[in-house]
Amino acid sequence: MLHLPSLSLPLLAAVAAQAAQLALQAPRVTVAAVDGSQLLSEQIPLGHALPAPVALGPKDSLKLTFQVVQSGSQEPVQPHQTFIHFYDETTGEEGVQPVKVNANGKAKFELNMARPPSSLPPTGDTPLKVSLFLGSFVHDPAKYDLFDLAIPGSAPVAQHPEAELFRPRAAIYHTFRPEPKIPPVAISGIFTCAVLAPWLALLGLWAAVRPTVPHLFSPNILSFSMSLAGMEGLLLWYWFELRLGQVLLYGALMAIPTFFTGKSALASIAARRLGQK
């Protein structure tokens, strides 16, 4: 069932194609010198371009005339778009020149090399390929290769004043600071002992002072001490393993018992201090 529409489409297209096709009638190219003498006048054969390239001097002028008709009935047609296309095959440069076609299908295009149109692309040594593009809403599009055009080479394109800025620059080689070296093990060992020695001094001084802590192991104070030790242990665990969100969460949770045990412990100490006083 699906094949029938797909088969019918090309059929319909073929029918439609037969109905509306454009044709060129009497295409003629004429080259005149600056003094008016005719250098070349040729009819372009239907279906293919002129065999020899048309040469234009720096002051010559070229004239192209043709008439657009409907193929088959030979009625004149004014297509909606008519362009002359200049194409350089070696460099890929191209230019497009719109051409005005009258209501009776007749068109004339003049090109004067003394004042060339801006649609001529930059040219080098190879002749330009000139073709005619016809576009219409009601007809099939048509393209006709007309002739090769050999014109004097164009001046080189002026470089944009800022083109230098966009060229690749010299490669940048960064010099980085050398990696910091770890000091020798002996020195690290000596200074480790030097930094840990104050702990010994602290223990010695505390042993010499021996403050009395009569109620260190009473439940209040012991639980407060344990809560504080728990907070410090949490921080140590954070150093090894935990992430920030976790330590903040656990810290907030640990802070609750610490707060309450602290309140009760310090209140009992204060009561004892004031009671003795």
Binding site: P180, K181, I182, P183, I187, S188, F191, A194, V195, A197, P198, W199, A201, L202, L205, W206, A208, V209, R210, P211, T212, L228, M231, E232, L235, L236, Y238, W239, L244, V247, G251, G262, L266, A267, I269, A270, R273
Partner: protein, 127 residues
Amino acid sequence: MTRRDPTGPPARASSQAATPTAVQSLWKAYIDTTPARLKFIDAFLAFLVLSGVAQFVYCILVSSFPFNAFLAGFASSVGQFVLTASLRIQVNPENRTLYKTVSPERAFADFAIGSVVLHFFVFNFLG
């Protein structure tokens, strides 16, 4: 309050000095009059000073290579010294008139909270 002896401490170790220097009498007064608990805190302060000095000397002499580690360690010594010093001032019974609104227990609670926060930041920076 002792008059300063211009000749300095006597060289003979066998006999006691007749007029002790200001430093010696200060030290004797300190040992005699300071309560044991304050001396306990003072021992901790001395430890913190020694610890900070040791780290600083290492940084200058050898290398500041893990600079964040040096900063964390040094800041922990200094910060803990500041907190402990303020605790000592506030719990000293002789300063009770200066701190009528802050009881020693409140001072200790502040010290504990401040220490935990300091340790948190130090461990963050230690790396």
